[in-house]
Structure formats: C-alpha cells, structure tokens
C-alpha cells in the first residue's frame, strides 16, 4: 500500500532552485519546510503532501519560464489557486513545484458592450462581481466559497453554485483562456468572440483540473443583472414533502434561479449562528429564488407558492427587502461555517441524482445515518439534484471515522445506482479517483487518457489526478484514513 502522504521528498537540485530565484526573485518562492506546511493540502484534508517548493509568479511569462525549467530538470508541478478545492485538486501528489497563482489577480479588461471580461487566474470570484457592481452586469457562477475561491480555480474545476440551476456552471460562462501548456508554450484558446473555427477547446479545458496545463488568463462572459427577484422560504414538516415540491416545481416547467434545501440539522446551526428566525421545529426549508422582469416574477412566484402549498408546505415566507434577501443568502452560503456548532469534524459529499430521485436519495441518506449511528445533515442545490450530505463526527474517534468513510461511499454508490454522478461541482481530484472506474468503462477512461495525452504528454504536469490510470504509482492504492473537514461549498 502506498499513501499520498508517503511519497518521498524530491531532491531539488540547487541549480533548479537558483533558476526559480532568477525567474521570480527571492520573494517569489517558498522552500522552507515549515512554510510549506500551509500548502500540504487544500479543502480536502485527508490526503496531505507538502510540495518541495511553492512559487508565486506574477506574469504569464514567469509561469512559462517556471514550467520550462521544471521540464529541464524533470520536476513535477501542479497549479493552485486559493486552495478551496474539496477534492484534493491542488494536492501535489508527487511533490515538486506548486505554482500558486494568487498573485496574478488583475482584472485585465472589462468590455460591457461585448459582454466579456478578461481576468488573471488569481482574481477572487466575488471581486469580479464587486468590480462590476453598478454596471448592470455580473459574472454568473457563484460558488458558496466565492469570497475566497479564484476564477482560475473555477475554470479548472468547472465550479457551480446555487444559481447554476438557471444560469449554468462555469463552462457556460467561459469564452476562452490563455494557457501555459505542460511544455511551457503559451497558447490562447477560444477568445472574446464566439464560434472560433475548430474544436471547442475552451469547453474541453474547463474542468481539466490542472491536467492540461496552467491557465494564466480567463475570458469570461458577463451576464445582465436580473431586473427583479422574489426570494421565498418554504417551510415543511417532512423532508419528503420538500423534495416532492422540488420535483413538482421542475416538473411544472418552472426553472427558478435557485432552489436550495436545508434540513433541520442545518437550520438549527444556522439559527444559532445568524438568528435569522428560521423555524427550529421544521423538518426542512426550501430557499427558492425566481428572477427576471418585474412584470414576470410575481406570477412565477405565485405558481411556486401554490405548488409548495399543494405539497404540504406549512408556510411560505417571502423576503420583503433586499437586505432580508441578502441575509438569507448569507445564511445559505455560510452554512458550512455554522456546522462547527454541531460537531468537531464533518465530511461533505457531492453526489448528483436525477431531480426526480431526490426523495429516494434523501431517504437512503437517513437510513445510512441510522444504520451507522451517524448524524447526517443536508444543505444542497436541490434544483440541480446536487446533494451535499454532511456527515458529522469526532476525528478522535477512530471507529466513528471508519463508519463515516463507509457511509460516504454507500451514499455515492447509491447516486451512481440512481443514474447520477459522484461529483456535481467539486471535481475528482484525488478524493474521487477510485469512483472513476465505477462511473466509466475502461474504454471511456482510455479515451480520456488519450485526450490528456494530446495536451500533456509527460508525467510532470499535475500527475495522478482525475484518471485512475494516470501516473506511475496508482492512486487506487491510497487508503483514506480520515474524512476531510470541509470548509465551504
């Protein structure tokens, strides 16, 4: 058995480090083992492995020079943004150089007439939206970690968020990118214009999890702000009624801007943290938002309220002011921060099921929790069928930890059985790599390996990520010892 933590530190040749210093200056790299500890993992804290050196380039040319130097000395390298990945996407499995892009944080261009912005990869998601305030435009993908996660990271993992139900995920909002390829070549794919002749490389590169190279600029589509919102909170006495409501809303052909479910466990934690006035005795609440024209939103909201009542909502509240709406969303997006009130440790899963199977998977999760004697709470993107069961535990209790891992796997396997997937927005990284061969046949994976080989022929750029067959020592042997303590989603 090998573990990700067991890889031997690489010997960094002195001329290699000198070369890096020449490119970046002394302030552009960290090589002190104590300082490197911060970079030993991302939001997925199970697998840890510190890089041998962390570099902080500020330009594309520096990134290209670093990559070329790595090639010259055959040193592996991996890109990193803010490190909010929940699947070990930034884990330097083979050690080597971690290329941290957070100092490349310029918003290079905003063009409202042509509805695009060009940003460096280290721009924090919410900073772009803040920058656009007052223009009537925004950047639509809004992961719950948007206050910290970078757009380069969003590009690498095809991030989602609550509003993807209506607006789509990252790939639906990316027009092009500048990449430093694994050999150090700088290539522009796509561009600010649509339909460039040839294959949709942009579409293929979004979600590459760092395995096709290093993204040094992203060209994103900007979206008009909705003219009006109606934000509602449906209160239910049973989780079944709430999930049935979701199914009925989608089944009625209504596509809300967001449709999120929070169950009793999470409501309790949120109420303690934010004092919003959530009903503590409710089994579940649905946070439902419709947006669009002022003339249209009331009608759509009314239809949704009717459906909620038909399926047994005991109450439907509306956010009456913009402030109230923002507070509701703050509660939702910081739900994970509030979990600390419930448990010393927790593990979040990221499964997807067809929306009509939500009642079934929620029942299953409850049964799994009971069978393993674990408390599981739920807060998730219900409209997309993207579940995030949160398994609570105490990491000092080894036996409990083991049960958490078994329960997680059971839930994800059930998602596959129901025709779904093991990740809706967090990515494969190293965490889900063992599930790839459950989701895909050997030849599906072989084709994906060929696609990677088209862009990344060597073993240096993000080794042992995404595909179970990649790399010399198989990640399938990694035995997870402890579930992660996940921060946000």
């Amino acid at each position: 058995m090998t573990t990700a933590t067991a890889s031997l530190p690489l010997q960094m040749p002195a001329p290699f480090l000198d070369g890096l210093r020449l490119i970046l200056g002394e302030a552009g790299l960290l090589a002190d083992p104590d300082e490197l500890l911060v970079y030993e993992c991302d939001g997925f804290t199970i697998a840890k492995n510190a890089p041998d050196v962390v570099v902080f380039p500020t330009t594309t040319e520096q990134v290209a020079a670093i990559v070329k130097l790595c090639n010259q000395y055959q040193i592996p390298f991996v890109p990193r943004g803010a490190g909010t990945s929940l699947a070990g996407g930034c884990l330097p499995v083979g050690g080597g150089v971690m290329i941290t892009l957070t100092r490349m944080r310029k918003i290079v261009e905003v063009n409202l007439r042509d509805r695009y912005a060009i940003v460096e990869p280290g721009v924090v998601n919410v900073h772009l939206t803040n920058h656009l305030k007052g223009t009537g435009y925004h950047y639509a993908p809004d992961p719950s970690s948007q206050g910290a996660c970078t757009i380069g990271g969003n590009f690498a993992t095809n991030s989602g968020g609550p509003h993807t139900l209506k607006y789509g995920v990252t790939v639906n909002h990316v027009l092009g990118a500048e990449m430093v390829m694994p050999d150090g070549a700088i290539v522009e794919i796509g561009g600010p214009v649509e339909d460039s002749p040839g294959y949709d490389l942009t579409g293929l590169f979004v979600g590459h999890e760092g395995t096709f190279g290093i993204c040094t600029k992203v060209i994103v589509r900007l979206t008009r702000d909705p003219a009006a919102y109606r934000t509602m909170l449906g209160v239910f006495n049973s989780v079944q009624d709430a999930t049935q409501t979701i199914s009925n809303i989608i089944g009625a052909g209504i596509v809300p801007a967001a449709l999120e479910l929070m169950d009793q466990g999470i409501i309790e934690a949120l109420e303690a943290a934010f004092h919003f006035g959530f009903p503590l005795d409710a089994a579940a609440v649905l946070l439902i938002e419709v947006d669009g024209l002022e003339v249209a939103v009331d009608e759509e909201a009314r239809k949704i309220i009717d459906i909620c009542r038909e399926t047994g909502a005991r109450e439907v509240r509306s956010a009456n002011t913009a402030k109230e709406r923002l507070l509701l969303w703050k509660c939702r997006k910081q739900a994970f921060g509030a979990i600390g009130r419930l448990s010393p440790s927790y593990c979040t899963q990221d499964g997807v099921v067809p929306r009509t199977k939500l009642p079934e998977i929620l029942d299953f999760i409850t049964a799994v929790g009971e069978r393993h004697g674990l408390r599981i709470v739920n807060v998730f993107h219900a409209g997309d069928g993207n579940i995030h069961p949160i398994l609570l535990f105490d990491e000092r209790n080894a036996e409990q930890v083991k049960r958490v891992l078994i329960a997680s796997d059971e839930i994800l396997n059930k998602c596959i059985d129901l025709g779904g997937s093991v990740t809706g927005e967090h990515g494969i990284g190293v965490e889900k790599i063992n599930f790839m061969s459950k989701l895909f046949a050997p030849h599906d994976l072989a084709v994906m390996a060929k696609v990677r080989a088209a862009f990344n022929t060597g073993q240096l750029c993000s080794p042992q990520k995404m595909l179970p067959t990649a790399g010399a020592c198989g990640m399938e042997h990694i035995e997870r010892k402890a579930p992660g303590r996940h921060a946000a989603m």
Binding site: R115, V169, D195, L204, G253, G419, S421, H443
Partner: protein
Amino acid sequence: MSHAAITDEFLPTTQTELCRWVGENAHGPGLPIYPVGGRTAIQYGPALTKKGIALCTTGLARVIDYPARDMTITVEAGIRIEELSKILAEQGQRLPIDVPHLHRATLGGVLATNTSGSRRYGLGTMRDYVIGISAVDAEGQPFKAGGRVVKNVAGYDLCKMLVGSLGTLAVVTQVTLKLRPIPETSLHVWITFDRLSQVDQALERLTTSQTRPVSVDLLEPRAAAAIVTEAGLELPVNRPVLCVGFEGTANETSWQADTLQDELRPIGPHGDHFVQHDDASSLWFALTDFQVPSEEPLTFKANLLPSRTVEFVGAAQQAGCTVLAHVANGIVVGQLPDEITTVSAAAQRLESLRALARKSRGNLVVVQCEDSWKSALPLWGEPEPGWPLMRSLKQQLDPRKLFNPQIVF
C-alpha cells in the same frame, strides 16, 4: 460533397452493428468514413478527394429514456429534429436550438456542426444542452462521457469536445440533453433605420435595456427581403432592419416590446412593427432557414466582436453581399452576390472581409461554395492559435485519419 468519392453507404440500426462495421474497416481496408445524418450540411468543408463510405446514422433514432419531470432526454443521435421536437412538445418542452431543415436534420448532425440561429443570444448553443454522450471511435470502440444528470464534473467534458467537431473525432450515437420549457408565446419587434450608424446606437442602448431579448438580428435590405418573402409576411425591407425577439408569457413579451420601442425612440427609427402569434413562428423559421446554403455562389460565416459587427455588415453590404447578423453575438451569415462567377473574384471579395473580421478579433469561414473553388479558398479562415492542439487531439483519437479525413484544422 463530391458524391463520386462516396462509393457506398452503411446504415446501421444499432450501435453494436455500427461498432462492428467501423472496427472491421479499421482492421481491414481502412477506408475513409464520412459520417452523415440528414445531409443538410453536406456542403460544409473541403471537397472529398479520397474514395470512402458514408456512415449514415438515421437508423439510430430511438428514444432511450425521457424522464420529462427531470427535464432531460436520452435519444439516439440519428433522430430527426422535427421528430424530437414533436416528442418534447407533448410534454411542453423543447431543445431551444434553431435548426434549418428540421424535417431532415438529425440531432447528431446538429451537434457535429454546432448548428445555431437567432435565439443563441438568449438561449445559448448546443454546448449548453448536451450533458451526456455516447460515441464510437475510429477503431470501432464505443465510449461515453458526461451522464444523465444536469450537473456533473466527473471526467473530461468530451461532450464539449464533440460538439462542433464535424465528425472528425468520433461518430456520436447517443445524446442526453438538458431541456427547457416551451414559452407561452413569442414576439418580434421589426425596426427599420435610415442609417447603419443608428443601428449601432440602438445596440449600444440595448446593452442597458430593461428588456431581455432572446434574439437580436441585423438584416441588410436584401436579407430582409429574402426573409420576409420566405416567411410570407408584409414588412418594410428597404432599409436596415434590427429584429429583436422576445419569448415568455404574453404579459412579458408585450411589456418588453413596448419598453424597447420607448427606449429606442430617441434614436429615431424609421418605423417599427410588432410580429406576433403565427407570424412570429413564420419569422423564426425564415430567420433560421436563411443560413442554409442556397443557390448563391458562396455562403460564409464571420465571427467577430459584437461591437464591430455593424461596421462589418456595412462593408459586406457594400461588397454586394446578402447579410444576416446575430449581431449581439457577433455572428454574421452572408452570401456573395451572383455577379461573382470565378474563384479568384470570390477570394478577393472574401479577403477584405476576412481582414476586417480579423481586425475585430474574429475570423471568416466558408460554409458552402462550388467544390471546384474549395481548394483555392481558406475555408476555415486564418489559422487560430489553438489549431496545433486540435491536430494533436485528432492524432490521438483518429491517428489513421479515417473519419472525415478532408477536414484538418
């Protein structure tokens, strides 16, 4: 397509049959394979020079799974768009892609050519709707990617890779689509202007409009005349036309039409007309069918920055072209005038337009022309920086260049 190069046709009715046949070819004669669906885009790309076999997917047209309440469908790729639309409409749903010749066009063909039309402005293109895919590689091995759920980031997004890949990387056999509800109604505002510069002002105004159009098209007078005739409508066509489409409830569309009228009034349009009910449907069809290769000597498509599109349309109009632009997307479909009868004249006319598109960050491709002209024209426009990566992808997935070998980026 030079039919002389197609010596035979194979029409499988199952994916297994298709795999076996492609595999036998790969391990045997190694003939070029030309995947076809409804043959509506058969003029696209270079002329065929190597003798090969057409692989027709229309025998693969079954609905595999339609969980309407999930708003997704899994179907075989050979299904005709008209048939698919009918099945979806029974549940009040649709795939909101504008497809010409929908009684012939197949889903696989639409996907492979990344067909789109006016409504791409508000509703996107095929890449936004394909969530799962099954395909067969050049060795006859089936593979899949994505899945049947609307959100999924497991593995590389091979759906995006295959959308617009023109049958060069694999033959798509099955597709899972995300669907949208059919809107209650649609309405177009047909606005004529005296000068193109006013259209530009109108487009600038639209960027902060209170309305949310699903389409924004600019038609020079020749295109306007052709489209109005095709739609069987009576609308003014002797000036540049900005045609703005809305979809939604009757309340939403009429409010937006009125609002747009008010917003554009200061620019001084020559006139505006609301096109509603059945006429709105006829207009959608006519706008969609305009992009189909016609009797004109050559059809081209330019892609450029939306803000530079009016200038481009002006230049194309000056050059005698008939032009429709999805102007807020920067997509222009144009036809060279009848007076162009030689390839050198065509090349000359296109060169200046292509240069203008390049200056506006875009390119210009030839959609259709006489086969004998093709070798003398840069059909895919000027090289894009990503082309070497695309060749590398082709080399990995189809190293012997069996699928549509004539198409090389």
